[in-house]
């Protein structure tokens, strides 16, 4: 029986700091646009603040709920089933921007099932893999059964289409299987099988193809396909060392695509400069370190996989997002955890951080 100690203070502060930075940056990035679209500069930031508060509430609750309660098929399997249903059900919703990412309940409440898919996927894998580490060479019994539900979810997310989240999920799946001890040949086979699919997805869907080409040479067509990535680079580049100052960014003024969501980090770079940009990266590094440390020190395999999966999901998503903003990776629409405007994202991320913090109680 593990002794009960306090939660990881570092983790807690990093999370609170990231949420606060997020609120400030969401306001800075969205104020002008919100004012123009909705008449109030606080439209986005107030919504974000509300979700952040709800998320922090969930964090505080889950921080106190023993994570072992989730180590139960009666919780895990229905979660997987419900997520699947939501991911299917979202196609019944009216599309927005030719996508089916949103579930709308009433005029105010809407959420993205793909955001839920990530923690459910982690929960499922942690539950499933905890007892099977000695049978990782059984590809039918372990690998395939572990991977099948996540792959199904990923397929549905791809279909939404939300390739970015799908890739994050795939990466989490791969990392958790890797930690569980899966042999490298399975990854080689998986990569071999995924490559043509990925190639097809990337280059045979017109707009993704354009994005890919833009990623390869953003200045080739600065007004067309290269516009978004070039605008992002201009925002980052003009930030310099100190940045233009909070609220002083210009690229958010309709140059940057999604300045308060997927490209909020560009706004951070522009307004806070290299110092602010590195500080945000550093916060994620601290978060990653404390999260992995929690997983590493944990004696409970379920807790270990859970902590590892949650940490990796957040880190991969954060670095993926930052890499897109910096044009290190092709443009994929995924939010920056804690910081990007988006209710579901911030709520789910904070809730999962609550679970991680609960696990951290036992590791100190």
């Amino acid at each position: 029986m593990a002794k009960r100690v306090g939660v990881d203070k570092w983790l807690f502060f990093v999370v609170v700091l990231l949420v606060l930075i997020g609120l400030v940056m969401v306001f800075s990035a969205s104020a002008v646009m919100a004012k123009e679209r909705y008449g109030s500069p606080y439209t986005f930031v107030s919504k974000q603040a509300m979700w952040a508060l709800v998320g922090l509430g969930a964090l505080l609750v889950l921080m106190r709920v023993d994570y072992r309660k989730f180590n139960n098929p009666k919780i895990v399997l229905p979660s997987v089933a419900i997520t699947m249903l939501l991911l299917i059900g979202v196609f019944a919703m009216r599309d927005s921007h030719n996508t089916h990412r949103w579930f709308k309940i009433g005029p105010f409440f809407s959420f993205q099932p793909s955001e839920i898919a990530k923690p459910v996927l982690v929960l499922f894998l942690a539950w499933f893999l905890q007892n099977r580490m000695h049978r990782m060479d059984d590809w039918k019994g372990t690998i395939l059964r572990a991977a099948a539900p996540p792959l199904l979810m990923i397929a549905l997310v791809v279909k939404e289409p939300d390739l970015g989240t799908a890739l994050v999920c795939a990466a989490v799946l791969a990392l958790m299987l890797y930690l569980a001890g899966a042999q490298m040949r399975y990854f080689a086979i998986g990569a071999a099988l995924a490559s043509p699919v990925l190639y097809f997805l990337l280059f045979h869907v017109a707009w993704r193809r354009a994005r890919m080409l833009a990623y390869m040479d953003p200045e080739k067509d600065p007004r067309g396909t290269g516009f978004h990535i070039l605008q992002s680079l201009i925002a980052v580049g003009t930030g310099g060392f100190h940045g233009l100052g909070l609220m002083e960014g210009r690229q958010k003024l309709f140059y940057l695509p999604e300045p308060h969501t997927d490209f909020i980090y560009a706004n951070v770079c522009e307004e806070l400069g290299l110092l602010g940009a590195l500080f945000v990266v550093a916060l994620f590094v601290v978060l990653g370190y404390r999260g992995l440390r929690t997983a590493f020190l944990s004696t409970d395999p379920f807790a270990r996989f859970l902590a590892f999966g949650i940490t990796c999901a957040i880190l991969i998503q954060a670095f993926f997002n930052i890499s897109v903003v910096l044009a290190l990776l092709p443009t994929k629409g995924i939010p920056l955890p804690f910081i990007s405007s988006g209710g579901t994202s911030v709520f789910i991320t904070l809730a999962s951080m609550g679970v991680l913090l609960n696990i951290s109680r036992e590791t100190d």
Binding site: T238, Y255, L278, V281, F319, I322
Partner: protein, 774 residues
């Protein structure tokens, strides 16, 4: 508690802790890549992206500066920059109505059939060529702008643009110049002061969002150009231009120049060139009319240059006006070259130097020059400003032609003495006359009074109306130097006056003012044959008025008069001088120093018989009669014993005045009267001395306009100059002041010489130059 707790052995055994390390390393690697990328983008490529950002976020617009204004000395605008509307359209906002709009707009703005820019086709062509911007018309009149506004077309906008405007049209056009496209001065002062007047363009940097919405702007105000205050007086300029134009037209001359100068400051009051151009209509400019002939045209001055010869000889060779000179019947041979006088002077024998100048004797001029010798004569000519640029603030000034002595041939001095082998500009000519007028000081001519950022209306920028001064300023301007002595200058003035009274310049006589000057008629040098043309002449006149204290110096040069009675300076240019000087003096409110005959207009005085350089001398009798009449003393002359009436209320008493005058005259000492006669009767007293019956002139109130605070003093208050001979300075001053004269002493000791000479009737306040010798 842990119902689902797995068996212990399966917990840790298969965990490969090293995989944690690999995962951590993977994230660490990613972190390093991200950090490196941040440094690359934000530090190393920073300026590149700042540039890129600026190019899309900011639009930099240059704002044209307002060109400096040109003011005359009374701050009347000669050239100004007005802001007018230009019309443009944003074709995409016109939508499908572009064709209709083009038709409507062309209907209004296409006022000049020659202007292809505003035709309906070209407007429509521009509408279809661009989505965002198309000019409709540039710099339209306010009426057209108003009518376009009334059309109320969507997508049609106005933008202010500057336009140079010359409110007086062609007035002083060669002085002002004009402005071409892009606001660049292309002639005259506009060109000479282009850099100062142009101003510094301003910049507006506008921050834009991605939808080209203006978010705000940083403005760098354009700095307007400097304003120039000219020494030109618009009224004097107008007087000069009108008189010149009339004569150029009448004589069908090629062109003409009149320059009016303030002899005591060197400032140019008027610089008239005929023909002129209208700088407002730059589309139809005649390139021939553009050059400012007053500074760019070199001509051979001929007889007017004798003023230089005589002044130099008086000053440097101790020649006196009353000295005798043998004109040798009108021909002199020096170093193998024979110089003939004009026919008129044939047979002229031994006469006074003054008479020789009156008659413009070439022989006498040659002799006087030879008295000086090459070197000294050359130095005088240089001192008078010939052969060098005056430095006036006008473009394309030439030096004229004056060869250094070492390039002269032996006969050159003879040619130079009569104004040949020398080329001068009208501006040099007038400056030379001013030197004589102001007492012998060369003052470089100027046409700019000040360069200032101030605008009219600013209390610190004050009008500087021209008021004739009696003396040279205490602080002489840079570049001024003494050429001849005060005394020489006074003698020259008096001789110049006698040229007008008795000699070749009779048509330069004024009504109510004394005047002096020298005529000149030069044969043009035929550029094709390099010989003197028999048919083409340049008629010139250089003069001053009034003589005792000249208010203005005037040069008139008329090139190649072809119609009219003659081509001589005395008949072509002298009347222009008279016309200009008369009106300018009246305009300036210069007090009359001669009897003013209000019935007589100046041109009526120009009787048909005019003495020219070559006309027989027998016309003098008529002239004497004319001047007797013109110079008859008015009734309110103090010499007649009547009370002086102010200018506003002269009291005409034609009947009573005549005896009074006589009695006063008779009271004068015989010596004084004798002096009048001996002095050749410089003007007024000839008739009195001759005791001819006087025809009483009618006197009516003086009708001069009082302008610019000019004080009109009754000009007829005159006194006889006492003889100062042998007196000491103190006595001279007392004596002079007792009769109301001023003394300009030269030297020290006892008075030996004076100008005007004793007995001359002069207005009160006249300056008498007295030379003292030990």
């Amino acid at each position: 508690m842990h119902t689902v707790a797995p068996p212990r052995q399966t917990l840790t055994a298969p965990i490969k802790r090293v995989r944690f390390v690999y995962v951590a390393a993977f994230f660490l690697f990613w972190t390093v890549v991200i950090s490196g990328r941040l440094v690359w983008l934000q530090i190393i490529r920073h300026s590149h992206y700042v540039e890129k950002a600026a190019s899309q976020q900011e639009r930099s617009v240059t704002v044209a500066p307002r060109r400096g204004l040109l003011y005359d000395r009374n701050l009347r605008e000669l050239a100004m920059t007005v802001s007018v509307d230009s019309i443009y359209a944003v074709p995409k906002e016109l939508g499908s109505n572009a064709a209709d709009a083009a038709s409507l707009l062309a209907h209004v703005v296409h006022d000049d059939p020659d202007d292809r820019f505003t035709s309906e086709q070209s407007i429509l062509a521009r509408f279809t060529a661009s989505h965002n911007f198309a000019w409709v018309a540039h710099r339209v009149t306010p009426e057209i702008a108003e009518r376009v506004k009334d059309l109320n077309l969507k997508g049609v906008y106005f933008q202010k643009e500057f336009k140079r405007f010359y409110p007086n049209n062609d007035l002083a056009s060669q002085v002002l110049g004009y402005v071409g496209a892009e606001d660049v001065g292309l002639g005259g002062l506009e060109r000479e002061f282009e850099e100062d007047m142009h101003g510094t363009p301003g910049k507006v940097r506008t921050a834009l969002d991605a939808r080209r919405k203006v978010l705000g702007s940083i403005e760098q105000e354009p700095l307007p150009g400097e304003n120039l205050v000219l020494s030109i007086d618009t009224n004097i300029q107008h007087i000069a231009e009108r008189a010149l134009d009339e004569q150029v037209e009448k004589t069908k001359a090629l062109h003409g120049v009149v320059v009016v100068q303030d002899p005591r400051s060197g400032q140019i009051l008027a610089l008239a060139v005929s023909p002129r151009f209208n700088p407002n209509e730059t589309r139809h400019l005649d390139p021939k009319a553009l050059s400012n002939l007053a500074v760019s045209d070199v001509y051979e001055p001929g007889s007017t240059f004798k003023l230089v010869t005589y002044a130099s000889a008086l000053d440097g060779a101790n020649v006196k006006p009353e000295d005798l000179v043998d004109c040798q019947g009108g021909a002199i041979t020096i170093f193998g070259r024979t110089i003939h006088d004009d026919i008129s002077d044939r047979g002229m024998g031994v006469v006074t130097v003054q008479r020789a100048l009156e008659k413009s004797s070439d022989v006498a001029a040659v002799k006087l020059a030879m008295k000086l010798g090459n070197e000294r004569f050359y130095k005088y000519m240089r001192d008078f400003g010939f052969g060098d640029r005056t430095g006036i603030e006008l473009p394309s000034e030439t030096r004229g032609l004056l060869r250094p002595v070492r390039k002269w041939d032996p006969a050159s001095i003879g040619s130079l003495a009569i104004g040949q082998e020398v080329g001068v500009t009208p501006i040099q000519l007038v400056t030379m006359v001013s030197t004589i007028a102001n007492g012998g000081m060369y003052l470089p001519p100027h046409i700019i009074l000040s360069e200032t950022e101030k605008m009219k209306g600013d209390p610190e920028l004050k009008a500087t109306p021209f008021r004739p001064q009696n003396e040279l300023p205490k602080n002489l301007p840079d570049g001024s130097h003494r050429v001849i002595s005060e005394l020489t200058a006074a003698k020259m003035r008096s001789m110049m006056q006698s040229i007008v009274v008795n000699g070749t310049g009779t048509l330069a006589a004024l009504n109510g003012y004394s005047s002096g000057g020298k005529t000149g008629t030069a044969q043009k040098i035929d550029t094709a044959t390099h010989t003197y043309s028999k048919t083409k002449h340049v008629a010139s006149f250089a003069g001053i008025a009034p003589v005792s204290t000249p208010a203005i110096a005037v040069a008139v040069v008329i090139d190649t008069p072809t119609a009219g009675p003659s081509y001589y300076g005395g008949s072509v240019s002298a009347p222009v001088f008279a016309e200009v000087a008369q009106q300018v003096l009246e305009y300036l409110g210069v007090p009359h120093d001669q009897p003013f005959n209000p019935k007589k207009r100046v041109d009526e005085m120009k009787v048909a018989k005019v003495e020219h350089d070559d006309h027989p001398e027998d016309s003098t009798a008529d002239l004497n009669a004319m001047f007797a009449e013109a110079n008859a003393l008015p009734d309110d002359d103090p010499l007649k014993g009547t009370a002086n009436a102010g200018p506003a209320r002269p009291e005409p008493e034609p009947a009573a005045s005549q005896p009074a005058k006589r009695s006063v005259l008779n009271l004068l000492p015989e010596r004084v009267l004798a002096a009048f006669r001996a002095n050749g009767g410089a003007n007024t007293m000839a008739d009195a001395a001759d005791n001819k019956p006087l025809t009483a002139p009618k006197v009516v109130p003086l009708s001069q306009r009082k302008e610019d605070g000019g004080v009109i003093v009754d000009a007829t208050k005159r006194v006889a100059v006492p003889s100062f001979n042998g007196a000491a300075l103190r006595q001279v001053v007392q004596q002079a002041s007792s009769v109301g004269l001023r003394v300009q002493p030269v030297g020290s000791g006892l008075a030996r010489e004076q100008v005007p000479s004793a007995g001359t009737m002069v207005p009160v306040g006249t300056q008498v130059v007295v030379r003292f010798l030990r």
